[in-house]
């Protein structure tokens, strides 16, 4: 007891022993979300096994498998054109995000189910990362880690977690994983076909695209 305590903190020996014996703790530890999500990336089946390094993490050059890239009816890649300035552009791969989401959802659900084995850690993860969707990198750049603030869950009042909170956690966990980990592999990806990766003149590309549309639809 003392000035920092509104009322004395009492910890009973046998209660503490019982808590520890049940593999729980007085204070919730925040799970290493970064480590969990980097591991999850290698398990969701979007990347070929040769893209996983010896450290068990994806290599820096890892790319999502081509079966998740959007294709034209003729089997060629369907690119998005990015304006890089000075009238120039380049192609980037377009990914089938619905297909990706369908593929990863069961893995994320299994991950969340595992996390829910220790609900207090799920609460900690919610309060520190998931609720406000702040990444580990973003937190590292702030003087004080972002915190759920008003949307935080209380250990005293919200445990055990009600079903609606579990559902919300699962949905936000997926959002967090997609936004902070997975989608960076689905944006600004250069084409795998060498000649499609070159920088080109935007005006000419627009003209060629219009011509292709006319050709495809027999409008010449």
């Amino acid at each position: 007891m003392g000035p920092a305590f509104e009322n004395p903190l009492v910890i009973n020996n046998s209660s503490l022993a019982a808590i520890l014996k049940a593999n729980t703790s007085l204070i919730a530890s925040t799970p290493d979300i970064n480590k969990d999500m980097l591991r999850l990336l290698t398990e969701i089946g979007l990347f070929s096994p040769d893209m996983v390094g010896e450290d068990g993490e994806l290599s820096a050059t890892a790319k999502i498998s081509e079966e998740y890239v959007m294709m034209n009816p003729d089997g060629s890649f369907d690119y998005e054109i990015v304006d890089i300035g000075n009238g120039k552009g380049r192609n980037v791969l377009k990914y089938d995000l619905n297909k990706i989401e369908k593929k990863v959802t069961p893995f994320i659900n299994a991950e969340v189910a595992g996390l829910m084995d220790s609900e207090q850690e799920a609460v900690a993860a919610w309060n520190v990362y998931i609720s406000k969707d702040t990444s580990v990198e973003e937190d590292a750049q702030m003087a004080q880690d972002a915190n759920a603030g008003a949307s935080s869950w209380s250990y005293e009042e919200d445990l055990p977690l009600q079903q609606d909170k579990k559902v919300l956690f699962e949905s936000k966990y997926k959002e967090y994983f997609m936004n902070n980990y997975l989608l960076k592999f689905a944006s600004n990806q250069t084409p795998t076909v060498k000649e499609d990766a070159a920088v080109f003149d935007l005006a000419e590309a627009k003209k060629a695209k219009a011509q292709k549309f006319l050709d495809d639809n027999d409008l010449n």
Partner: protein, 133 residues
Amino acid sequence: MENKNLLQNLYLKQFNQSNAIAYSEEFVSSTSDYNFQLLDNAYRNTGKIYAKIKIAIETNKCTSEHCALELAQLKQLEQAPQVSLDFLSSIVSELSTTEEPTFDLNNNYKYTAANSLMSGRPGFSKTDGYVLI
């Protein structure tokens, strides 16, 4: 609604990390007593009780048949220091969670304060008004 744990934990975290107290002339010039004598207080008078039971057994003046009660009490007293040390070790280990970089500030702030107290941080001494029993 005001989140008391969040505010108090933030304050304690910033207080400990800022080292602000090191720049307080008043704090630096005064003595701080960190000797809470936790075990001394817990085992005060235990020696007398132990001796009393031991004598009762040796002189066959026990209150229970075959000194069963006295022997059990003696065993309990002999094991008590180790039990206390194990208890303190568990508490210190539990409280160290509050120092993790990703510690959730929504945890009970009293544990953060208790960790400062147990680890003898500046500003958490007997002189500053803290008591450990």
